[in-house]
C-alpha cells in the first residue's frame, strides 16, 4: 500500500473519532452546565474553559474577564472553520481525505463521510446551537457511528483498514487522556477540600465520553474520581478506555505490518499494554502521575508510526 494512502487513512480515522469525541464532550457539558451544582455531594461540573483547554485551543481574548462563555466555546468547537479541531473542520478534513481514498474505502463509507460533510455545511449550525445543540451533537454521533459500522461491514480486512482503525484508536486514547488530565488534576498538597469537586467532574467526564452506563454496569462503586479514572484508563471491556484503545491500536498495526516484530511503535505499544495491565493490578497508588507517562508514550507511538510507515510522505511534503 502506498505510504500516502496509509497516511490519509490514519488521519481519516483520527478526524472521525475526534469529531465524535468533541460532540460527546460538548453534549455532556452542555447538559450539565444548564443546571446548578448537585446538592450532594457538593461539586461542580466541568467548565467551558476546561473544554478549550482539553482541545488545546487558546482561550479567546474577548476583553471580558471571567470564565469562557458557553455560546462562544460551543460555537468555536462546533462550527468554527478557523479552529482546526472544531467538528466542522474535522469532518471537512476527513471528507477531503476520503476523496483521495475512494478506491480504497468502500463506496458506502465514502458516501457516509461525504453526506455527513455536505449536510453539516448545509445546516444552519449557529441557529441550531442556540435553539437545541443536542440535535447537532446527536446527528454527529449518529453519522460517526454509521461510518464505523459501515467500515466493519463493507471494508476489506486488509492493511488499509488496519491504518484506518489505528488512527481512530490512537485518537480516542489521546482524547480520553486529555480529558482525564484536565478534569481530574492531582489534588495539590493542602487542598484536600478539592476532592468532592473532582468527584463531580468525574461524573461529568463519564457522561462526556458516553461511558456512564458502562461504568454503572461494570463497577460496583459510586462514580467518584478514583474509580472513574481507573475505569477510563484500565477497564479493557470498555471500548474507549485507554487500555482497550491501546490494545486495538496494537492489533491493528500488527495486521498492517508484515514485519511487525521489528516495528518500534508496535513494540512500544506491547510494552504499554503490559504496563497498563500491571498497574491495574497494583492498586490505587500514583494513578495520576501515570497519566502523563501514558500520554507521553502515545506521543512517541504516534511519531514512530509517522517515521516507520509514512516517512516518505512527510519528508516529501517538507522538501
Amino acid at each position: 500500500m502506498l505510504a500516502r494512502i496509509g497516511h490519509d487513512l490514519y488521519w481519516l480515522g483520527r478526524h472521525m473519532v475526534r469529531a465524535e469525541h468533541t460532540a460527546r464532550m460538548l453534549d455532556g457539558l452542555f447538559h450539565s452546565d444548564l443546571q446548578a451544582r448537585p446538592e450532594d455531594p457538593e461539586s461542580v461540573t466541568l467548565s467551558w474553559d476546561s473544554m478549550l483547554v482539553i482541545m488545546g485551543v487558546d482561550v479567546p481574548q474577548t476583553g471580558q474577564p471571567g470564565p469562557a462563555r458557553r455560546g462562544d466555546v460551543a460555537a468555536r468547537l462546533t462550527l468554527d472553520e478557523e479552529t482546526p479541531s472544531s467538528i466542522l473542520s474535522c469532518v471537512a478534513v476527513a471528507r477531503e481525505g476520503a476523496r483521495t481514498l475512494r478506491d480504497t474505502i468502500s463506496a458506502e463509507m465514502w458516501e457516509a463521510v461525504n453526506t455527513f460533510h455536505l449536510d453539516l455545511q448545509g445546516r444552519d449550525l449557529s441557529a441550531g446551537l442556540r435553539t437545541g445543540p443536542y440535535s447537532i451533537y446527536s446527528y454527529v454521533k449518529e453519522r460517526c457511528g454509521l461510518f464505523w459500522g459501515l467500515t466493519s461491514r463493507t471494508m476489506l480486512k486488509d492493511e488499509a483498514r488496519a491504518f484506518l482503525i489505528a488512527g481512530g484508536r490512537i485518537e480516542s486514547a489521546d482524547m480520553v487522556l486529555r480529558m482525564l488530565r484536565v478534569a481530574l488534576p492531582p489534588i495539590r498538597e493542602g487542598h484536600e477540600e478539592e476532592a468532592p469537586r473532582r468527584d463531580g467532574n468525574a461524573l461529568a467526564l463519564l457522561h462526556a465520553v458516553g461511558g456512564f452506563q458502562a461504568f454503572m454496569r461494570s463497577a460496583a462503586t459510586p462514580p467518584n474520581a478514583d474509580p472513574v479514572a481507573r475505569f477510563l484508563i484500565f477497564e479493557r471491556s470498555f471500548p474507549d478506555s485507554v487500555a482497550a484503545s491501546a490494545e486495538s491500536l496494537h492489533d491493528a498495526l500488527v495486521n498492517g505490518d508484515a514485519n511487525w516484530r521489528e516495528s518500534e511503535p508496535i513494540l512500544r505499544l506491547a510494552r504499554l499494554t503490559a504496563d497498563l495491565e500491571f498497574r491495574a493490578r497494583a492498586g490505587r497508588e500514583a494513578l495520576i502521575p501515570a497519566f502523563r507517562l501514558f500520554q507521553h508514550e502515545l506521543e512517541l507511538v504516534d511519531s514512530e508510526i509517522d517515521e516507520r510507515y509514512f516517512s516518505g510522505v512527510v519528508q516529501g511534503a517538507a522538501a
Binding site: P38, E39, D40, G56, G132, Y134, Q213, P222, D306
Partner: protein, 535 residues
Amino acid sequence: MESGSRIGPEYATAGDGALSGAFAPAAGFYDEVFEAPGRPRPHAAALVEALDRIGRQRLAAVGERRDAIFVQQGITFDATGTDDPVVDRPFPLDLIPRIIPASEWTSIKRGLAQRLRALNRFIEDVYHDREIVQDGVVPWELIVTRPAFERTAHRIRPPGGVWCHVSGCDLVRGADGGWKVLEDNVRTPSGISYVLENRIAMTRLLPELFAGYRVRPVNDYPQVLLAALRAVAPAVNPTVVVWTPGPANSAYFEHAFLARQMGVELVEASDLVVHDATCYMRTTDGLAQVDAIYRRLDDAFIDPLAFRPDSLLGVPGLMRCYRTGNVALANAVGTGVADDKAVYHYVPEMIQYYLGEQPILENVKTYMLDDPEQREYVFANIERLVVKPTGESGGKGVFIGPTATEEQHEAQIDLVKIAPERWIAQETVALSTVPTVGGDGTLAPRHVDLRPFAVFGDDIKIVPCGLSRVALREGSMIVNSSQGGGSKDTWILEEDGTGEGFPVTDDVYNPPTMPGMRQAGWAEQQRQQQQERSA
C-alpha cells in the same frame, strides 16, 4: 429588540409579549408564575421573558418534536382509563417548567423528612410493641382492618430499622399558596424516571429557558437509591436487583430505567429462586446470591406461600428468606399500612407522639366515615368534598363532589353506607395552577401537584426534584397520569447560586494543541481550494 432578532428569522414572527400578555390566571386559585395578569412573580420573571422571546409558534413546534423524541426513546406509558385505554402513549411533558425557590424547598424538605421519620417509627411500632395503640393515639381496629396490614411482618425487624426506603408524598398548594400533604406513598411510588427524563428532554428541547436560573440537577437519584439499597443489604459487597412484575406492567419503563441507571439487573419472578432460605438469581454462570431487592410489586404478590397463593408473579419461599434476614426488601413487607388513606389522618399526631415536634407540613382536612358524626357531616356537605377509597392508589375510585351531579352524590352516599370504614372524605383543595402549553402554543392555567421523592438508607435523603403532575383538561384537578394527566419539569433553585465554575485550569496541565496532519502537501492545497470555493 436585540434579543429577539438573535433567535433567528423563522421565529421573529412570534409577537413579543404575546404569550404572557394573553395569559389569564384562573380566578380563585394560586398561580405559581403570575401574581396578577401580566405580572410574573419575581422568581419567574426570567422565565416569562424567555417564553415571550420564544413565542407561540415555536412552542407549538417544539411540542411536536417532543412527542416524536419520546416515542423514539420509548418513554411511554399505558393509561388504564376506564373509557379508552391507550397503549404506548408518549409521556405528556408540558414545556413550561415549574419553579420552586430554594427557601420553599428547604421547608418542604424538612417537612417531608419529619413525616417520613414518623411514618417509619409508626410501622416499626405497629409490627412490634404497638405503643401508639396502647397510648390510645391510633385505634387498633383501624390498623388491623387496613388491607395493607400484614400479620406476616409481625416481629420482623428489617436491617437498620428502615421500613420505607423509597417514598414519594403527594403535596398540593391551596389558594393561599401554603403546601399541604395530600397522600403518602410508601409502597412503590412511581414517577422518578419521568423526573429524570423530563429534565433531559427540557435541556434538549428548550435550553434557553434555563438561562438566568441555577437549577439543581436531578440525575443523582439512582446513585442515592443504590447507596441506600447497598446500605441496608445484609452483605459486605451486596448484589442489588430491581424486581419488576414484567413488561406488561404500566411502570415497566421506570423499572428498566432504574435498573439501567443503577447498573443492576432487572429481574422477574422466574429469574429468582429461594434455596435454604437464601435468595438467588439464575445467571449464565449458575445461581448468584441476591442481597437486596428493590421490588416494584405489592406485598400480596411477592410470595405465594405466604400471601396470595394464586400469585404467578411471586417467588415461593421469599418470605422465609426475608424473615431470616438473608435478603433485604425495599420497601419492607407491611409498609403499606402507613400509606392507607385512613391512617393518613393520624400522621400529624404520630409526628407529635414519636418525635415530639410540631408537623412542618399540614394535612388536608380529612373526615373518617366510620365515625357517625363525621359521616353525617360529610353526607350533608358531599357536594363540596372529595371521597376516596382508603386502600386504593392512582386516583382509582375517587369521587369529586363539586363536579358530580346530584344523582351521583346519592349513589356515592349509598356506596359509602355499605362499608363506611373503607372510605374517607377530604375538603377540596383549590390546587395551585401553573401556565401550561396548549396544542396551538398558547398558555392556559392548569392545576398541579408535587411528588418529591425521598430515599431512606443510612439516613433520609430527599433529592432536589419532584414530579409535578398537571391536569391537562381545563378546570380538572385529576393529575394522575393514568387518568390523562401530564407532567412538568420541576426546577428546585439553588440558593445563592453564583454560576461560577470550578477553576480546573490552574496551571496544572495544559495539553498541547491537537496534533494535525503533518503532511502539508497536496492535502493542504485541496483544503485551500475548497475554502476558496466556499468563500
